[in-house]
Symmetry: C2
DNA sequence: TTGTTTATCAACCATCTGGTTGATAACAAC
DNA sequence: GTTGTTATCAACCAGATGGTTGATAAACAA
């Protein structure tokens, strides 16, 4: 987990599983232990523990220590890094769509669906 | 690829690979064919074609037809769905952090690092 | 027709993923 | 000490993923 690319790999991979996304959802309402997190699921707590390790490696969550408990906390900063990556490309493309739209609207009149591929 | 959850699965999985993220990056500058997309990479174009199929299944890209070419287009709408999902939880948690911060700032004076786990 | 370009399909293979069960470690309470 | 709770580790397994090579199809150009 050295460079930035590996962190993005790990984070997106972590979010590609519905169980892990539900864990994120639960943690957005506050920290929780593995047992608490595992309770709503039909799978073993070992499996949940593995899921949490995946999230932890991606730095989407952190752990603390409270006797034998190891509460899991959400890390919003890492979530923000993901939206930042996505928006970097989404916004560029949407801006191009808007300007293309403006060109089509002013030059050619009818609102036909004739979009050329190579710009 | 029926429900919303499957689409999120597919989309986050699609972005968990550095090659596919670079494809997204390239496509944010405009449509391109498989051969054009494969050129910068050391892997075969069959491999790139597979990557594009993964992106297409996630509806992050679309294809069109231009003679024997099949140009690939970015789909910003799907990218936006991802940021929407992330922000849904990121913003909740950050808001909680801010209010906790405010409570700590007004009630207890010294800026020590004593955060309790269970809220 | 023949050839070229573009792109996918079909096998195949090594590795990773997500789940299981059983054993183990660390701590709390008695 | 013993018992119970919390959590991880280790080994295993079925299926998915990411890459390869070779064959094939589709749309042109000559």
């Amino acid at each position: 987990m050295s460079n930035d690319d590996d962190l993005l790999d790990a984070a997106f991979l972590a979010l590609s599983d519905p169980v892990r996304r539900q864990l994120i959802s639960r943690l957005s309402r506050g920290p929780a232990t593995v047992n608490e997190l595992a309770e709503p699921f039909a799978i073993s707590k070992q499996a949940v523990s593995k899921h949490i390790q995946v999230l932890e490696q991606a730095q989407l969550v952190t752990r603390s220590r409270d006797a034998q408990r190891r509460p899991v906390h959400l890390n919003p900063a890492r979530l923000e890094a993901l939206t930042a990556w996505i928006d970097q490309y989404r916004l560029v493309r949407e801006a191009q769509f808007r300007s293309l739209d403006a060109v089509l609207r002013t030059n050619t009149a009818p609102c036909g669906s004739s979009q050329k591929d190579r710009q």
